[in-house]
Symmetry: C4
Subunit: 271 residues, 4 copies
């Protein structure tokens, strides 16, 4: 079993100054993450409307007519992936740079973070994300934010709930598999010291180009919650929590058990 599970309870680990700074880092990171990504969704929609109007003469204010063209998917996926890359570089030395409750959950399960500290991370991430989307609400024109419900996640009508569930599950598993391979594995982190945030950012990018046309791509419950909270639409919200939380821990296990557990000479868990 991971060491952290055997350690005695320590208040300092989740209330000391180091922990408080970590909460601040997760909050700031999530604020900027949501502000920039949901902003890109709304700005891109505005650009799309404008160019569509010029070529066809018609408006496309109805969200159902909103065509997620391939270059749009690419742009939005780059926004999500590169903002994670950039923000993990910025706060990884303060909080570990989780910026995602599904990542924090996997870290709790595998003893990489104190469980109480981890739960506070999740609360703070959700709060930061919601403030970020609220700022988009305040700054962007209503025509764009109303039509898209602040980048609300939604399931493609051709999918069953089970299919959507496992898409979110494996998308999150991919991201956490990469995090455990590059940033958590002590040998991995040595090999990929400077570049873990780069690999993680592109893993998030990949999850988005594969999932945006299918589930809108959640893989991050705090991000899904924030869009739902500000738009007031809670359809399938449970799925965007359960699937990533389970999928993230599955991805971690998929990396931890074969590659780090027991066989690893540098195993920091000492088992």
């Amino acid at each position: 079993m991971p060491n952290a599970w055997q350690k005695p309870f320590s208040r300092k680990e989740f209330l000391g100054p180091v922990a408080l700074r970590a909460y601040a880092a997760e909050f700031s990171g999530m604020f900027f993450f949501l502000w920039v990504t949901i902003g890109v969704v709304c700005s891109g929609y505005s650009a799309l409307q404008k160019s569509y109007k010029i070529t066809s003469g018609a408006d496309i204010y109805d969200a159902n007519d909103y065509a997620p063209s391939v270059s749009w998917v690419l742009t939005v996926a780059l926004a999500f992936g590169m903002s994670i890359m950039v923000l993990v570089y910025s706060v990884a030395h303060i909080s570990g740079g989780h910026l995602n409750p599904a990542v924090t959950m996997a870290m709790i399960v595998f003893g990489e973070i104190n469980i109480f500290r981890g739960l506070i991370y999740i609360v703070v991430q959700t709060l930061g994300a919601t403030v970020g989307v609220t700022m988009v609400d305040a700054l962007w024109p209503e025509s764009t934010t109303n039509s898209l419900n602040f980048g609300l996640n939604g399931i493609n009508s051709e999918l069953s709930i089970a299919q959507a569930f496992f898409m979110e599950f494996f998308g999150t598993a991919l991201v956490v598999f990469v995090i455990f391979g590059t940033a958590v594995d002590p040998r991995g982190s040595e090999f990929a010291h400077h570049n873990a945030p780069l690999a993680i950012g592109f893993a998030v990018f990949l999850a988005h180009i594969v999932l945006i046309p299918m589930t809108g791509c959640g893989i991050n419950p705090a991000r899904s919650f924030a869009s739902a909270a500000v738009s007031g639409v809670w359809t399938d919200q449970w799925l965007y929590w359960v699937a990533p939380l389970l999928g993230g821990s599955f991805g971690a296990a998929f990396n931890y058990f074969p590659f780090q557990f027991r066989n690893n000479p540098d195993n920091k868990h000492g088992i």
Copy 2:
């Protein structure tokens, strides 16, 4: 208070050979930055006209008809972000690679640079930027430069002035938050030693994909000034100075106070 504010006045810090080379670096960097980015804006417009003419038979020389399609926004954002990345790699060891008065202002406020040297940076950056755009004026066909006013920043008609102001404010805050997290924080810079310019470049890219359809994306007063000076259009120029200068320092404070001030064992300011 940062150390630099308490130090005695030293001429050498802003007139010695090291300082003079730094001014040259900021000038060259800004020259290439504006030449290549405003060049991309004008070249992309030319490509757009040509392909539009073939598919529709009509010309689109009127700038109001100029549709900022999603792939156009992506391309221009990559031009701005990757040129900052490339030029920061090239001159960071000479001048720190600010290449933006809003960055220099934040460095002055947090004592990372001598105030007189910083003010000369800002003058020199603005000069280099203007020479860069002047070179675009000399080399590009008039049809492209006239229509787009050399990439002049302008506020989307759906936005209030306050909304545009805070978009520029937070866009600059994001970039400077990343700079302070990766290049200024002594622990951050150790963690992200080789990759700070990569993270900073992608932060600039993010600011551009989110802001281009809304404010044209300034976040750099020298860049906004240069387009205005060469095109002779000064509408809302004040906003493209005040918002980035305040937003940059806000982003720095958002990183400095929680993560570097006092709590940092390696704090180089010794307070």
Copy 3:
């Protein structure tokens, strides 16, 4: 001759715990690689249909009408390239991160891996890839997977078999040339220590933007096999094995003989 060819037979090298973990890493890597890339092919097709329907009113369910637009090629190529980058960062320290039978074959030929271990790699890679595509079959709507045959490789009708063969040959040669220059060459790997996966990922990206409109881009027999196995279409399958296996070893030779063999003072093969 490479050292590995002269070594006595050792069971441990392909049956010990280190070898078993390496097989698991190649399996997991290939699973995620195919899941995400073939997923992107199917999701992108769905996005394309939707946006095409809105602008033209017509459906494009017939795969023959499926137009591989430039931004589609770019997106799919980024999916293939960046997933290799991300997964090589994640498993390189476990298995070497081959993730391609053509790479493993070149490693066998140049003595970088035990031949029995290498052959098991190839089997395991093919298995992981097939499970990945099977998961796409389970999760994606039939309209997308049926039309595209799970990203099945196919030869452009304007090409002769020989032309397609040498396209696959040189595309794989490029990727393996880069692998041998950055990750195998002992001096190269020192120079490019942290960045070999980045260079390799972009080499895969390049092979895809150049080959997708011509051969669909195989350059990886396990990936080609997986699409064929799940779709049941085996046309030209031999080509997608023979050309990459020969091309990969050619690319390795093109790097090994001039740059590493004999002339290299640090030559780890000691010849």
Copy 4:
């Protein structure tokens, strides 16, 4: 004056085994560079024709009707930039990874390479490039290669010769400025040790997004020569030699004199 100019003549420096391997590296690098980039130009054209035919019913085989859409420019620019990145990572430790006569010329002028060795580099680069384009001729369908003249450079009809000349001049200057700032400057190379090829690759990308719609983007005489030699069209070929060769050395001077000459404590030229 740079040291290399004062050294006695040494045959070994351009005929010894180290030099011979360097020639082989420049040849291989240029072969792959041209094969993949001109291949992308031709493959992209094929994709464009196919998608245009589906939406409009008409063919666009006439090269004059070939619309360089924004996403096409982006894709081609990424092909050129990322292939330089990937190949510089692969051969920099063998030959320095010039892969461009304009770079080699700047290295000769600033004493970074023996003049005779440098001149052989230029011959070998041009040869490798021409073999690469010849291979595209052999493998790609005639419809694509004939229409585009193998990516032949050409001047936009709206430009004067002088404008085209200085566009090529400054585009090359930007690339060589970055090379001198990251890979040549002894302090720069320490700072940017692992990432110089990344910065250089993106500088090449930038030159291409800015110049493709204007001059087709040469900035590399060997690349321009190869397209001309295989297509047999030599219009304005002189410009694609003179402007890059002068511009490259200008970019080097723009970096060398202010930042490396005399003021540099680690100056390896000892002057």
